[in-house]
């Protein structure tokens, strides 16, 4: 049924449809609406789930780790400082191979207190072993969250569903909310491969000395490597039920494009308008919207970019002392490819600043006019 939903509530609805059994979260703007709705669902009986109130995000993640170890389908949500506080346990969740799903609302980190959109919080967690899926609009948020449970439980790795603060979390859009019956068809009850059992007691995640640790890490990577295949297959099934698909990445007009803009999140939606405008002016421009960041879909990226003359990456994040993080990853994916296009990095829209069509057009003109990247990152729209 189509409803006008806030982006946050698109997450909540998906979690309800996923029949999550245990949730734990600590409120933080702009994540609060997600868990607020879920706690109400638990209270009024719309969900048959346990909501564990905790005093910090660290404890929230610890609580869902415990519940997932016991074999429950689990969910949490956070943002910015909350995610940073979870850091230690993010490693735990993935290395214990627990299929936890988390909604992460991209928000800037302090100081310079700022509650607005910025991708550095989630990208700073790229090495924790979590699958990361970025979303463009409310519908994608709902669909991705639902799909995330299937994916996580298939590969035994945790999934972060990432949405932009306010631009997405607090914006109302028409969203098609699936029927419970269809949701159930897509997402059967969780049957854990390993779970703690009081009747057959055992301990998990104990000491792993040098003779086994490396093998365990390699094993996580094997799981990660299985993600793209599993994702495509699961999404195909999703499409057959709900008629929607997103892909690990989406290319728009890239076949003949000379310049391809790589975008993520809500900026992708702005870039679609810019693309239409520029195409109408005869510009050979294409868009690559990156949805999956971990594992990084390097093969698909190489494929999509192989014919372009230039690639421009729009980063709403920054790794100090290096460059925009998406740009780094794209460069790394291309560097061993013969004759790959040069990668231009642009930093914009940090701390909630708008990424307007004008900014994107300006970036396009900059790429077009610059024969070779001079700097790793060009900061666009900086005030002098």
């Amino acid at each position: 049924m189509r409803q006008v939903l806030e982006g946050s509530h698109a997450v909540s609805e998906a979690v309800r449809l996923a029949k999550v059994q245990v949730m734990s979260a600590y409120p933080i703007t702009p994540q609060t609406h997600i868990v607020e709705a879920l706690s109400e669902y638990c209270e009024d009986g719309r969900m048959n789930a346990k909501f564990i109130c905790v005093e910090s995000e660290h404890s929230a993640m610890a609580a869902v780790i415990g519940a997932a170890s016991g074999g429950a389908r689990t969910f949490t949500a956070t943002s910015s400082h909350g995610l940073a506080l979870m850091h230690e346990l993010l490693h735990w969740a993935s290395a214990a191979r627990l299929p936890i799903v988390m909604a992460e609302v991209n928000r800037a980190l302090a100081p310079g207190w700022n509650i607005w959109m910025d991708q550095t919080d989630s990208l700073a967690q790229r090495d924790t072993g979590w699958i990361q899926l970025y979303c463009e609009d409310g519908q994608e948020v709902l669909d991705t969250t639902l799909l995330a449970f299937r994916l996580a439980e298939t590969v035994n790795l945790p999934v972060m569903v990432i949405l932009d603060a306010f631009f997405l979390s607090h914006t109302y859009e028409p969203v098609d909310v699936p029927d419970q019956q269809d949701a159930d068809r897509f997402l059967p009850p969780y049957s854990p491969r390993i779970q703690l059992d009081t009747k057959n007691p055992f301990a998990m995640s104990q000491m792993a000395p040098p003779p086994v640790y490396m093998e365990m890490r390699r094993n996580i990577q094997v799981g990660m490597e299985a993600v793209p295949g599993c994702f495509d297959r699961i999404e195909k099934e999703f499409e057959s039920i709900f008629g929607r698909k997103y892909g690990q990445l989406e290319t728009v007009s890239c076949e003949d494009a000379e310049i391809i803009l790589i975008v993520t999140g809500t900026a992708a939606s702005t870039s679609r308008h810019v693309l239409a405008e520029l195409r109408a002016q005869g510009e050979k421009v294409g868009i690559l919207k990156l949805k999956m960041f971990r594992p990084f879909p390097k093969d698909l990226i190489r494929q999509a970019l192989c014919n372009a003359k230039k690639v421009a990456v729009v980063d709403r994040n920054f790794s100090f002392g290096a460059s925009g993080i998406f740009a780094q990853e794209v460069r790394a994916a291309l560097c061993n490819q013969p004759n790959h296009p040069p990668v231009f990095g642009y930093i914009t829209g940090l701390g909630g600043r708008d990424v307007t069509p004008e900014i994107l057009k300006q970036i396009y003109q900059l790429v077009k006019q610059t024969p070779e990247p001079v700097e790793e990152s060009v900061w666009v729209g900086l005030k002098e």
């Binding site: 301990a203 104990q206 000491m207």
Partner: protein, 595 residues
């Protein structure tokens, strides 16, 4: 080291499943995590410990300030579970008169209650009264005493609260007691001195009956004389003297003989089931509890009393609550007025009152001095004197020499020891202090006969650091082991408590004058069981384990186990102290491990 590592080596389990790909199972996602069925019990986390938690009950401030040393946190804990019989028996271990004390004790316990800083103190007196009445109504059994009759006989002079208390505890300890009472009925001050609206006759009778049932003989109309002390030798092994203050203190002013004695009025009113009506006005001189009782009793027989006091209201030795009640009932208080003369005039009494004034002094208590020659006149139909009382005869006053002075008694150690107790020797003249005195006398005598060291042994029976003594401690009961440290409010983990309203005993006050007149009914009502349970649940149970189980629930090593008693498995307790921190009532402590 290698061997040890091998032993600790965890078996790794590679769990693989096939992922459904279309209709065939082809894809395999391995899952390699450390997993072990070896019990974590091999990890003796106890070796990490350098401090250890211990179950160590502490002293509650209420128990410490209760003159009778009642184990209030335990009493309330049992009451909160509806275990009224056990709660009542717990009171009886320290105080044989709960229905009386629940009514007339001025509950110092509530003054020191830690709950005061949280919301309002626990209504301990209401709960004691409830349990006392319940014990009488339901004829709760008295636990058997562990002591056989030891053949020793004790003579007790006076059947007031001190005498009754001494008789109760001594007979529980195996002594045979005879009480000699000068009046026609037993009870002393309880029967004659406290008006019925505070203490019904029935309650006094029921409580005394329980003491008689222990085998105590009470001989009424048998005043003892100085000669008795000599004659008693051979018949008795010891004498306890607790005759109270029977003689009113005189004012020594002209016209004094025109006054009546307040205590005598109280006696007269209580002697009758239906006190005679009186009328007119009366002046009651004094500011103590007796003066208040006299004034309020006069009001109830139809007289309009006015209280005349030489100091100010705030200086009155009467308990503030009693003063408030008197004023709420409409009794007038004339402060800073000292009678200097009484004359008879036109069938009335004319009091000449010297006006007084307060001069602030550096010591704190204001000095009250005559305000020049200012006087005023007060004409009333009757005058009652209630400025205090003293021992009836000089030999009843404990001698100063060759006497062991205890907190509530004076002990003459001799072949046939004599102990003075009750108001004759108590620092505070209250019913509960009198009971404390009787208990102290019983313990002191028992120690004497067992050839122990009286002062040292008594010091070991103190509740906390106050003067209250515990028979439970003396007899080596389980609560003997509570630490004398008094639990402070800061030591209570108030996160575990919700604010809750203090129970309000049903009180018909303020009554109209017409209602009060001629009514000696109880002013307060006894709580019902539900309210008693609710109120007792408010108790923090300072320093006593009430099986809340926090220590066990919070222990990260699952090292706390509870079969009969809670215990700590030191093999696994790593000394983190969470159990101690989360104990809401300071019933646990951390101690350093011996080096």
């Amino acid at each position: 080291m290698l061997l040890r590592q091998k032993k600790l080596m965890i078996p790794y389990k590679l769990s693989e499943i096939l992922i459904k790909k279309g209709n065939t199972m082809t894809e395999c996602i391995p899952l390699f995590i450390s997993q072990s069925s070896i019990s974590t019990e091999i990890n003796n986390t106890g070796t990490w410990r350098f401090v250890r938690p211990i179950y160590q009950e502490k002293t509650a401030p209420c128990s410490e300030t209760c003159p009778a040393g009642e184990d209030i946190p335990k009493i309330e804990m049992l009451s909160s579970r509806g275990m009224f019989k056990e709660a009542w028996q717990t009171i009886l271990a320290e105080n044989p008169l709960p229905a009386i004390c629940g009514r007339v004790c001025f509950h110092f316990c509530e003054g020191s209650c830690n709950r005061t800083k949280f919301d309002s103190p626990l209504a301990v007196h209401c709960l004691e009264r409830f349990l006392g009445d319940k014990g009488i109504a339901e004829k709760f059994p008295i636990p058997e005493s562990a002591f056989q009759n030891n053949g020793k006989r004790i003579a007790i002079a006076g059947s007031g609260p001190a005498g009754l208390s001494a008789a109760w505890f001594l007979s529980r300890l195996g002594y045979c007691c005879d009480i000699f009472e000068a009046d026609s009925k037993p009870g002393g001050l309880l029967r004659w001195g406290i008006p019925a609206y505070r203490l019904p006759k029935r309650t006094v009778k029921d409580e005394i009956a329980r003491i008689i049932a222990q085998g105590v003989q009470i001989r009424c109309k048998s005043p003892i004389s100085e000669r008795f002390l000599k004659d008693a030798k051979g018949h008795y092994d010891a004498v306890f003297i607790a005759c109270g203050y029977a003689n009113p203190v005189r004012m020594n002013i002209p016209g004094e003989d025109l006054m009546r004695d307040g205590l005598e009025l109280l006696h007269q009113i209580r002697s009758s089931d239906d006190p005679a009506c009186m009328s007119g006005t009366a002046a009651v001189i004094g500011g103590g509890n007796t003066a208040i009782d006299v004034a309020r009793s006069l009001l109830r027989v139809g007289v309009k009393p006015v209280m005349v006091y030489r100091r100010r209201k705030e200086d009155m030795p009467a308990f503030a609550h009693e003063v408030e009640m008197a004023i709420r009932e409409g009794i007038e208080l004339m402060e800073l007025s000292a009678p200097i003369r009484i004359e008879q005039q036109n069938g009335q009494f004319l009091l000449t009152l010297q006006k007084m004034k307060a001069i602030p002094s550096e010591s704190g208590r204001a000095q009250i001095v005559p305000d020049g020659d200012k006087t005023k006149m007060l004409a009333v139909n009757q005058v009652f004197r209630a400025i205090g009382a003293e021992a009836k005869e000089n030999w009843l006053i404990p001698p100063k020499e060759n006497t062991l002075k205890l907190s509530h008694c004076a002990f003459i150690e001799q072949e046939m020891p004599i102990i003075f107790g009750g108001d004759l020797s108590n620092p505070i003249k209250s019913v509960t202090d009198a009971i404390a005195s009787g208990k102290q006398a019983a313990m002191a005598l028992d120690i004497f006969f067992k050839q122990g060291r009286i002062e040292e042994t008594l010091a070991g029976c103190r509740v906390g650091s106050g003067t209250a003594l515990s028979m439970e401690i003396y007899l080596g009961g389980a609560r003997k082991y509570r630490n004398p440290h008094t639990v402070s409010f800061e030591e209570v983990v108030t996160d575990y408590f919700q604010p809750a309203d203090r129970v309000q005993p049903i009180t018909p006050l303020p009554l109209s004058r017409g209602d009060i007149a001629l009514s000696f009914e109880d002013i307060e009502q006894t709580l019902d069981s539900d309210s008693a349970i609710e109120e007792s649940k408010r108790c923090f149970n300072c320093g006593i384990c009430n099986d809340c189980d926090n220590c066990r629930l919070f222990c990260p090593e699952i090292a706390v186990f509870a079969d009969d008693l809670r215990q700590i498995n030191l093999k696994y307790c790593k000394g983190c102290g969470i159990c101690v921190t989360e104990c809401p009532r300071n019933a646990m402590s951390l101690e350093e491990e011996a080096a």
